[in-house]
């Protein structure tokens, strides 16, 4: 279970100064501007749920994911994932989650995929039998076979994301955070990723929180969405409810999302 209460993250950004000696001033006494990336959000995600987390660029999605996975320490508020506080019980927490950033790989760039999986096995202390079983299953479902022996830098984006997904799941995490897993991936590869993620959620009961800009991802994969804008939650509920609230049953989901973002832009 994931619980987030009044969660905030503020970044301090050095403010450019004006007038004479501006550069000198900013060196001697820098002035900072606060930017609230995440500005007091609350939500609860139950075990086995799959939730879409959407919002414009810079809305605070990645910052939230980074706090949930323990990379960032929150400025204020509470986070709890599987009963643990990510930035405090770091190692134990990390054993229970898997994280994939679509834009970045967490694999070793210059060595074959299988070597990365092997060292992750050691890091997460996965026993041989479980490792073999998972490797077999993911090789089959994600069709890793053709490129297991290739260095990551030679993989296509679609292959790389598949390898990253497998790597994030080798230790059987209870919770999976996916930050734009389908970004830049072609239609067919996207379809395969969606099927895989859905299956992992359904068959293994893995809780999934995923961010995406792809409306098809939302329609095909999730029943519940959380919409964030300027660090605050605009909507948290079912996809169906989202439709009803913003345009009716037959409304195009892309229009709805555009509508929400525009509205959010006004209030923010």
């Amino acid at each position: 279970m994931i619980t987030v209460k009044n969660l905030r993250k503020t970044y301090k950004i050095a403010k450019p100064q004006e007038g004479r000696f501006a550069t000198l001033k900013s060196l001697v006494r820098p002035r900072y501007e606060e930017r609230r990336a995440v500005d007091g959000i609350d939500f609860t995600i139950n075990d086995g749920e799959m939730v879409g987390y959407i919002g414009q660029n810079g809305a605070g999605k990645s910052t939230t994911i980074k706090m949930l996975s323990g990379i960032l320490v929150p400025t204020a508020g509470e986070v709890s994932v599987n009963g643990l506080t990510p930035h405090k019980d770091r190692r134990e927490h990390l054993r229970g989650i898997g994280v994939v950033f679509g834009q970045k790989t967490s694999l070793w760039w210059d060595v074959p995929v299988i070597d990365s999986l092997n060292i992750l096995k050691e890091m997460y202390r996965v026993d041989d039998a479980r490792f073999r079983k998972n490797l077999e299953m993911f090789t089959d479902l994600l069709d890793l076979g053709p490129f297991l022996e290739q260095p990551v830098r030679q993989l296509s984006l679609g292959q790389r994301v598949r390898a990253d997904l497998a790597a994030a799941l080798m230790h059987d995490p209870k919770t999976l955070f996916l930050d734009e897993p389908t970004i830049g991936v072609d239609v067919i590869a996207k379809e395969r990723l969606r099927e895989f993620i859905t299956e992992i959620n359904r068959e293994r009961g893995v809780t999934v929180l995923l961010t995406t800009h792809d409306v098809v991802d939302m329609e095909k994969m999730v029943k519940r969405v959380i919409v964030i804008n300027a660090g605050q939650i605009l909507y948290d509920g079912s996809m169906l409810g989202l439709r009803e609230r913003y345009g009716g049953e037959d409304a195009d989901i892309e229009d709805i999302v555009r509508e929400i973002y525009r509205e959010g832009g006004k209030t923010a």
Binding site: V73, R90, K104, E122
Partner: protein, 267 residues
């Protein structure tokens, strides 16, 4: 104890991955080795020129100066071979690759250190190993077991001090995201202490490199002790391991605070 063992094992596995990555680029591997060997050859030629043109500095004979330089090279190479990555935290933070270390249930420090090995730094070690006996034979100094014992202590402490200073400077990035200015100042300082006995610079500098940025413990104090120079009392020289431990403590503290300050980057 068990944790230390597990840590070392993990470090070994990480190094193996790193080496495998390096060997993917075989041509580059060999070219670096060749070019560094050439560079070191040039260094030795330069030093023979120095020792031929150089005159004694106060009570320091040319042979003493070679020992001074050699000690620096060996201690420094501990940093440059095994811990080089620690001075590159800035790059990791700016590129966002630091995030990945925080996603795996292994100490980020270990992942950082295990992520690189600069085999080319071994040439520095070699240079030191050649220079020290040469210098000793030039001055006719003989080391007994006691001196050899302290030589080892000094090299290990000096290595630790070099690592800690570089690491601490690098940790400043957690607060400023850039640390290159500080790094430059430090380079200017150690370029002086590397070749010259600290005593020729006057008391202010001596305080700086003893207490504030203790680079003098990489080679000056060890050389004073091992060569029996009058430049400093023996007990001050023998503080080397203590200073290394204090610095390591400070570095661990700053690192921990830095991790809490870490702000990631990008999307």
């Amino acid at each position: 104890m068990r944790e230390v063992k597990a840590g070392l094992k993990m470090y070994g596995s990480l190094l193996k991955m790193t080496m495998r990555g390096i060997l993917q680029y075989r041509a580059d591997f060999w070219m670096s080795l060749v070019s560094v060997s050439l560079l070191n050859g040039a260094n030795i030629v330069q030093l023979s020129v120095i020792s031929w043109r150089f005159h004694a500095l106060g009570s320091w004979q040319v042979g003493d100066l070679l020992v001074l330089y050699g000690l620096f090279m060996i201690s420094w190479s501990i940093f440059s071979v095994f811990f080089y990555r620690l001075s590159k935290i800035e790059d990791e933070i700016v590129s966002g690759s630091f995030d990945v270390y925080l996603l795996r249930p292994v100490s980020p420090f270990l992942q950082l250190v295990g992520g690189d090995i600069k085999y080319t730094g071994l040439c520095d070690t070699l240079l030191g190993v050649v220079l020290i006996p040469t210098g000793l034979s030039m001055t006719g100094t003989h080391w007994g077991l006691w001196q050899i014992f302290w030589f080892v202590i000094f090299v290990l402490s000096g290595g630790a001090i070099a690592v800690c200073i570089k690491f601490l400077i690098s940790c400043v990035t957690f607060w400023t995201t850039k640390a290159s200015a500080l790094s430059q100042v430090f380079i200017q300082i150690y370029l002086l202490t590397q070749k010259y006995p600290v005593t020729i610079f006057g008391p202010a500098f001596r305080v700086l490199v003893t207490g504030l940025v203790p680079v003098a413990y990489l080679n000056f104090y060890p050389a004073v002790y091992l060569l029996g120079k009058p430049d400093a009392p023996p007990w001050v020289c023998m503080l080397a391991p203590v200073i290394a431990m204090v610095l390591a403590g400070i570095a661990a503290l700053v690192w921990r605070r830095g991790l809490r300050r870490y702000n990631s980057s990008g999307a």
